[in-house]
Amino acid sequence: MSADEQKIVEFIHNPEFVHWVLQPDEESNQFWETWVKENPSQHKEFEHARFILKGLGKNDKSLSETEVSELWEKIEQSESKSATRFKRLKKWYAAAGILLILGFTGWLMIQLNATIKTAIDYQSIAAKIDPDNDIKLIFADHTQKNFTNKEVELKYNQSGKLETKTGKQFHTEDLIKSSEALQMNQLIVPRGKRSNIELADGTKLWLNSGSRAIYPVTFNGKTREIYIEGEGYLEVAHNAAKPFIVISDQIKVKVLGTKFNISAYKDDCGISVVLVEGSIEALCGSEAIIMKPNELLNYKILTHQSTLEETNVIPFISWKDGWMLCTKEPIHSLTRKLSRYYDMTISYTDPRVNNMSLTGKLDLKSNCEDVFKIICATAPLKYEIIGNTIFLTVKEKK
């Protein structure tokens, strides 16, 4: 090998040299300037080595000064917050421990009772009917009603009357035939459609595309219990005497009166709960997590790990009003939501697409193609619709 090459290797493996290229200061500048003057024969190799090193880190993005200090403030804030929260939790654990011992026998009895009396096998109810293209309402006597509309509004009242609104049409019917038994209704909302229900207690439930809910016509028991698969936003009517419980396959959320969003799609690898108002207790696995407003709970089904963090709730609930707000939303998550919402397959193979994230507001009331026109106007993407599939590719720079 040539002496030139040898020399470059030496430079690259000289920590002082590397250090100087990366973080030059006056002292080292002076040192290397003198060095070059004293070794003019090695000047070319010296420059080459310097070029490689500089080139390697050249395109790195740095934080601006404000970003550096903002990040520091956040660290200091959450540091002090977590410290006090930890202390509070300790106290809470002590109290909970005492309650646990006192309540253990009582709990056993309730538990035994509960499994006999009220445990409803929601999953087997849900499994009986598969979604197709229509919104479906299934009554307690297994008769069903199909709606071809994009959106349906249902309203139950405490005496067992159901009001249905499709487009501009109203329809009222009496559901209670034998008032003793617990009557369960099931609403199935397929991909591409939405629905909202006002339950008998006044609780409002918005169901997003590709979801279903199972709920009683009237709430007669000690608790108000409903089942949700997919995504729903709830505004629970306050009733301290009758806690409201939302059950999904992996998580149970207990509330008194609040507003929150739950997303528990079977094809997602996690469940998320976002609390808008009030306070809720989420049971996932063996863990009970108490949530405060503006907190996001993520629960990972495979690993049974849950995390709680502060968040801006608006992007999580805007779908109910026909908007999608994204802040740095990864494309895979955005396309999964849109494909449910419009019942389209969205396909991309370029890994660069997967690395993109989008920020902005999408009007979901407009049709699917318009939404993709907007996406492709802001991101360097192109779309092509073939049948029921949208293909996304990267717009190459010329």
Partner: protein
């Protein structure tokens, strides 16, 4: 020389920090936040996520400060924690699925578009460097980056990359060799044949 001094003051800073000195904590943050951010941005284009991860590792550091032992290498500790944290968060957001370290990307481009580089030959050299880099495996890129940009020693980078010293060295050497092969000879006299010989022997 310069490095020796840094190690000493790292130990000093660390001990002060463990003793509860908030200024020392801030010094640690200021000293490493930029290089951590730059390193982190090579794993994902979601730069907000990188910032969040940096926040998390510093908060965790502060929270567990009383339980920490003495270390003379804060930098290694931070790089290691940040990488672990980013992998965890990427996994959580479902981008990677079950984490396969080999498939974890190391995004690397030497873009020349945004800048006006007066010297045309220098511009061409950057393009060549970019092309050569794109032929490397993600782990080779990461190793080379850690060695020559983050300025870690082989011992340190082997720990960040969770491999033994010799494998880490080989990764850098083979990567550099590949860089040289992909670099047009007339453009540049590149390096490393000596290491190739050493490896074969």
């Amino acid at each position: 020389m310069g490095k020796e001094y840094q190690i000493n003051s790292d130990t000093l800073l660390w001990n002060k920090f463990i003793a509860g000195d908030q200024e020392a904590f801030r010094d640690i943050y200021n000293r490493y936040v930029q290089s951590l951010y730059r390193f982190g941005c090579h794993f994902t284009n979601d730069h907000a996520l990188v910032k969040d991860c940096i926040q998390d590792i510093f908060v965790k550091l502060a929270r567990s400060r009383s339980g920490l032992g003495s270390t003379n290498n804060i930098k290694l500790y931070l790089f290691k924690s940040l990488k672990r944290k980013i992998i965890k968060s990427l996994d959580k957001s479902g981008i990677i699925g079950s984490i396969d370290l080999e498939k974890l990307p190391f995004i690397y481009t030497v873009s020349v578009e945004d800048e006006i580089i007066d010297d045309e030959s220098e511009r061409i050299r950057y393009v060549q460097l970019d092309k050569a880099m794109s032929n490397l495996s993600p782990r080779q890129k990461e190793a080379i980056y850690l060695k020559f940009v983050s300025d870690l020693s082989y011992a340190e980078l082997s720990k960040v990359m969770n491999m033994n010293y010799q494998s880490a060295r080989n990764l850098v050497f083979r990567g550099m060799e590949k860089l040289r092969e992909n670099f047009p000879k007339n453009m540049f006299l590149f390096f490393l044949p000596s290491n190739r010989l050493r490896l074969k022997r």
